[in-house]
Amino acid sequence: MPQMNMVQAVNEALRSAMRRDKRVVVLGEDVGKVGGVFRVTAGLSEEFGEERVIDTPLSENGIVGCAVGMALYGMVPVVEIQFSDFIWPAYDQIVNELAKYRYRSGGEYPAKLVIRTPVGGGIKGGHYHSQHPEAAFIHVAGLKVVCPSNPYDAKGLLLASIQDPDPVLFFEPKRVYRAAKGEVPEHDYLVPLESAKVVRPGRHVTVLAYGAMLYEALDAAAKAAEKGVEAEVLDLRTLWPVDIAAIVTSVKHTGRLVVVHEAPRTCGFGAELVSLVVERCFYHLEAPPVRVTGFDTPFPYTLEMEYMPLSHRILPALLDCAKS
């Protein structure tokens, strides 16, 4: 099996989906000739031509609005938003149109498309190249939200997202775009949406993480193990609808919960995860659930490593939670 990084794995998934289905088109800024600023769409315009791999004018609102129209026609657009920080001009189209089309048309117009976009910090990108905006999309009825952490899942989840009948926001953790490597089958396969994965079993405390922070959670879990605390780490993979069964099973087993995410704490996805767990596992909990997250400030430039919920912040939270 070939070794790949996330960039290559996403590229593979796009290539394969486009080969199979002529309705799949890729559109975004700089996705064509240059193959994307992160090179995720490299080589696609050579293979599929400018008609299907489309460098658009510089307007996220235009890209997503037109993609919605293409979807209504019956195409399957896979949009790239260059950085998730630049998705906001398209938010109206996403929230008021894309997410509501099926509902408001009584199922007549299921506007199916995928929006891929790099998320997260740790690349010295400051406020505008670092945000992790999942909460703003999870909150919107009608959208599915996916965030892979490794090349295998990236390919399988993207293929599943393209096949899924609903609109999917596909968040690519850019900090590990090249750092996360692994074996990726050449053939097509699906990683089903709504399936979390236990990546490290343990019995003392459950850690929920996704994207680039999964590696920080695993690092902290390894260090905690040296101190006798065995953390069970779940990679959520699909953020919404989240794999509630896997979470409940784990928390009922450990009795303790730590949630990790890069985005700010207040009304972040962690708030929802903690609520879900409290509602379902209250009598199994042995300690208050803990959130280890970005702070409620804009994402900084110089101090980004202090801002992010890296292993050095996860570890003490984990130990405290396990001992309290």
Binding site: D30, S59, R265
Partner: protein, 377 residues
């Protein structure tokens, strides 16, 4: 072949407007648009253009050495950037894109402040919160740079509109690229400024590219200037590598605002001679021979040729200027590198005027906690 055979001739737009050019190849000025700058004014402009280019080169080198994280330069666009800023009055306001640090320095941003921002250190007035090249300097009428393309366009309109409501004559110069004309903010900004006759100079730096996307992918119109009339705004095309022409056209635009005639769209035709930024490799999408005709129209060389013809400048002065820039830049970098990173608590300042309870709590949490590994993985 007629490209639009089925459209009646009366529905077609006029031929693209002529490009205003003042500085001819032989180094003389066209009297019709000559802004009649004095020797000292021309020299001031020239010094800032040289300063911009010299700093650009040095900042790229610092980035390559890993001493700063990023730089987005102005190579080839100095005349458009400096000329437009020069034409504005002191009381006017400038709303930058991210490629115009030279104009900020000319307006009064101290070199040390600029360099501290490039390093994001404790002396940075925005405390290392923004990426390099994201300057802010209220004292010189310089708005705060934002990365999202186009957002400054509507804000510039609102600023001068506010002044207008207040009975003050304050024009805004807003810089943006060819790519930004595709943004919704461009449409809204032009539309509002047209309707409310706001004194704004919309300065589109048409440098041929939006990262890897050429202008043909931004618009089906032959020029950017012709978008103006659709909003009831005159659109002017100017040779953006001819600083006299830029000054002349922007001054005229300011005069129109002064007379209550509202906004002007200026398309400055220039070329991005470097990559989009230090993160970009333009060899992936454009052939180097595309640069040749533009290198021959280098804005600095054209101006220098004029200066030498007037015997206002010579090699000795050039060397002295560069030595001075070099010495001041080195000193600024040395000071910037000596400064520590911003203090941890600055993370929580300026989110609100006063930090609410939750930020006070989070500040304590951070300060009491373990320090992050300093290296980037």
């Amino acid at each position: 072949m007629d490209p639009m055979p089925d459209i009646p001739a009366t529905f077609r737009s006029e031929q693209p407007a002529r490009v205003v050019r003042v500085l001819s190849d032989d180094g003389t000025l066209d009297p019709r648009h000559d802004p009649r700058l004095s020797e000292s004014e021309v020299l001031e402009i020239y010094r800032w253009m040289v300063t911009t280019r010299q700093l650009d080169e040095r900042l790229v080198a610092l980035q390559r050495q890993g001493r700063i994280g990023f730089h987005v330069g102005s190579l080839g666009e100095e005349a458009a950037i400096i000329g437009a800023a020069f034409a504005m009055r002191t009381r006017d306001w400038l709303f930058p894109c991210y490629r115009e640090f030279g104009a900020a320095l000319m307006r009064g941003l101290p070199l040390q402040t600029f360099v501290d921002n490039m390093f994001g250190n404790a002396n940075d007035t925005v405390r290392g919160r923004q990426m390099p090249n994201h300057s802010t300097h209220r004292a010189s009428g310089w708005a705060s740079v934002s990365s999202p393309v186009g957002t400054q366009i509507t804000q510039a309109v609102g600023f001068s509109w506010g002044a207008k409501i207040d009975g003050k004559d304050v024009a805004s110069l807003v810089y943006f690229g060819d790519g930004a004309t595709s943004s919704t903010d461009f449409h809204s900004g032009m539309n509002f400024a047209g309707v409310f006759k706001v004194p704004v100079v919309f300065l589109c730096r048409n440098n041929g590219w939006a990262i890897s996307v050429p202008v043909e992918r931004q618009t089906a119109t032959r020029t950017f200037a012709e978008k103006g009339p659709a909003y009831g705004i005159p659109g002017v095309r100017v040779d953006g590598n001819d600083v006299f022409a830029v000054v002349s056209v922007v001054r005229e635009a300011v005069r129109r605002g002064e007379q209550g005639l509202g906004p002007t769209l200026v398309e400055a035709i220039t070329y991005r001679m470097g990559g989009h930024s230090t993160s970009d490799d333009p060899n992936r999408y454009r052939a180097t021979d595309e640069l040749k005709p533009w290198a021959e129209r280098d804005p600095l060389e054209r101006l220098r040729h004029y200066l030498e013809r007037r015997v206002w400048w010579d090699d000795r002065k050039e060397q002295a200027l560069i030595a001075d820039i070099d010495q001041r830049f080195r000193a600024a970098v040395a000071a910037a590198e000596k400064a520590p990173p911003p203090a941890l608590e600055t993370l929580f300042e300026d989110v609100y005027e006063k930090p609410p309870w939750h930020l006070q709590e989070q500040r304590v949490e951070l300060l009491r906690g373990v320090r992050a590994p300093s290296s980037h993985s």
